[in-house]
Assembly symmetry: C2
Homo-oligomer: 238 residues x 2
């Protein structure tokens, strides 16, 4: 039995306001919880329907399926839930390339982008203050364990970009083809909002404007921001 | 007022079995419905909470918000719904490159992949019979209007790949780096299931095995199949 006040607290962590107030976030799913437990992120509490054999050497509280479904953000909770402390923002950015997100709204997109950074070895993401929170349950569903290996910060982009000495690349519909561009060893890559792209004030701070060429005929849609990020990070690493 | 039997029919189209039985599928959202109406896909019925100004020259039935929420697949239905006839499978594949999907399960991934093919001008996708149905509402949410410009077939992959004269490229964790491979002007690119990759029987029919190099350190996750497709289609078109 988990006490009621604890269940209420965990459920409240689905909201950003409550996550920030308590400095806690929730991860679900056996494999991902185990990965976060084994990372630098500090554990607050583990819950499992069947604690047997789940994360050795750590206390696991038993929870009923009924209780879990009350607090889970998943339609079909899968028996394991971990509550962790939100890590402090790292002071320094150490990655050769830094990914900047300007107003990415969709949690699935942010989750995929974090996973991409992990794959391509970019350890720093700097998000605008209006980018979706990386501890949102839907983001965490999409990142899998990558959240433990990528340092994510939320900053005012104008002042961050004004203070950097790195070349700033932004992605725009009317930019130069990335196929014709030689990318340097270090830099900043800015990706914009799903509908509106890079905001005007940030666009002014981009030294280079890139585009991914389109080959379809009458297509009007833009490339999904996570797909575009996949292609650009691949190009950075080639 | 829409008659009850009609509402029941439309709601049933959320299930693949019912879509195939009636040969109909549902699209929601003003912009996407308009795009499908203006395509070759045959219209069955249009419904709107506010029919004023929605698709000129076509009959639009009025539906209440309450009725719409009963039949919509969206948490927050947005006032517009179209029912369309599932198009016949095209006999011929006309694309220079053909994308083959071997057991892709996630509707969001398939939707993103269809949109990518549209962007990169690949007009043919051949799916294994166990790939998620492209008329699934969640797939259509993610494709936007691209579904009207890409021809999607479901086939037994073994016999399809056995019958082709095109070079068959497959993506594998242990394949050759795509960065070192020169891709021809025509071919087939095979992408596998989210967890299991390309199935054994299909792997035997791949002439070339490709991989997207990883740059992260201790990462164990694989690249999301939609992200991998983005990178490979970009490479095909370069």
């Amino acid at each position: 039995m988990v006490v009621k006040s604890e269940l209420k607290l965990i459920k409240s962590l689905q909201q950003k306001k409550c996550r920030n107030e308590h400095g806690l976030f929730v991860v679900e799913g056996k494999k991902t919880v185990e990965e976060v437990v084994n990372s630098k992120i500090k554990l607050h509490k583990l819950l499992a329907v069947d604690p047997e054999g789940f994360v050795e050497g750590v206390e696991v509280e038993r929870i009923t399926n009924r209780e879990l479904s009350q607090i889970s953000s998943l339609k079909n909770p899968n028996g394991y839930l971990g509550v962790f402390h939100i890590p402090e923002q790292a002071e320094q950015l150490l990655s050769d390339w830094i990914l900047v997100l300007d107003g990415v709204q969709d949690p699935g997109n942010l989750g995929t982008i974090i996973r991409l950074c992990d794959w391509f070895g970019l350890t720093d993401i700097v998000c605008s203050l209006d980018t979706v929170d990386c501890y949102n349950p839907k983001v965490l569903q999409a990142t899998m364990g990558s959240i433990t290996r990528v340092n994510i910060q939320y900053r005012v982009l104008d002042s961050f970009l004004n203070s950097t000495k790195l070349p700033v690349y932004g992605t725009f519909m009317d930019g130069d083809s990335v196929n014709d561009s030689k990318l340097p060893k270090k830099g900043i890559m800015v990706m914009g909002n799903e509908g509106k792209g890079v905001s005007n004030s940030v666009a002014k701070l981009c030294t280079y404007k890139l585009a991914i060429p389109q080959y379809g005929g009458e297509t009007t849609e833009s490339l999904n921001v996570a797909s575009a990020t996949a292609i650009l990070l691949h190009e950075i690493r080639k």
